[in-house]
Amino acid sequence: MHLAYPAVLAALLFSIGLYGVLARRNAILVLMSIELMLNAVNLNLVAFDVWLRDTVHAGQALTLFVIVIAAAEIGIGLAIVLLVYRNRGTSDVDKLTDLADREEKAEAAA
């Protein structure tokens, strides 16, 4: 198989995930897009591992580790989103601007 096929597929999938992270408003949809980006990286790792015929199979081992870390990340991320939702009543990342750097007088007016 030509190596360009999996590499191009992974690049396009990563870009789609990047668009989702930047454009989505709901925090859970942002988490889904992060999953897409991680999966693009996994596809690259598997393809290069099969191409290089690595004796210690670093690519496939790292793919398994990335899957495990993604599972841990989605668990912690959803717990944080639920906590934010419980405290604020919204999971909209555009409205969570308490730490934003803004003008003092806008704060005073509000």
Partner: protein
């Protein structure tokens, strides 16, 4: 191994490209649909398509792990998250934020750069899929427990830490519940 050119693709390549197109389409719908639950369900299609791609690349064990972990648990977790945050059923017009055009520009620019780069770099590179299978369960078990034992065990500790962290984060406050205060006051 015959190094076939672009004009005479093998069956594996044709299958890979077709499944890849389906995967990309599902991923595009995931990031662009207005219906939040549909996004999670299209994510299943995208991740399942990737599992098929792993199978085509002879990484058999990783394909099944992908089905088990991602399709089986991560998507279910995301659906629970959508339900618990009272995500609207049906179309929600504010699913995309106001900077979606800037996001589109960034994504298209990164896609163009990356695709140009990898096509230029791997123009004449072929994967040899013949010979012994490189990702069967037996091979995976051997390399994982011969060369990667220590990171493997460290990851189990990481998973335990994530589990405890998620429980602590999602626990109700002690003030909210009288019985909780007696047991879990710190």
């Amino acid at each position: 191994m015959s190094h076939s050119g672009f004009l005479s693709p093998t069956g594996v390549e044709i299958t890979f490209v077709l499944v890849g197109i389906a995967t990309l389409g599902a991923a595009l719908i995931t990031v662009s649909t207005k219906q939040l639950v549909h996004a999670a369900l299209w994510l299943v299609v995208a991740l399942g398509g990737l599992a098929v791609e792993y199978l085509l690349l002879t990484a058999e064990f990783i394909a099944w792990v992908q089905v088990l972990i991602y399709v089986g648990s991560v998507v279910v977790l995301l659906l629970f998250g959508l339900m618990l945050t009272k995500a609207p059923i049906g179309r929600s017009p504010d699913a995309d934020s106001g900077n979606r055009w800037a996001a589109l520009v960034v994504a298209v620019a990164s896609a163009a750069t990356l695709v140009w780069l990898v096509v230029d770099a791997f123009r004449a590179t072929w994967i040899n899929l013949d010979g012994p299978v490189q990702g069967s369960t037996e091979v995976t078990g051997q390399f994982l427990f011969q060369h990667w034992v220590l990171p493997f065990e460290a990851l189990s500790v990481l998973l335990l830490a994530a589990l405890v962290g998620a429980i602590v984060l999602s626990r109700k406050k002690a003030e909210a519940n009288g019985t909780d205060r007696k047991i879990g006051a710190r």
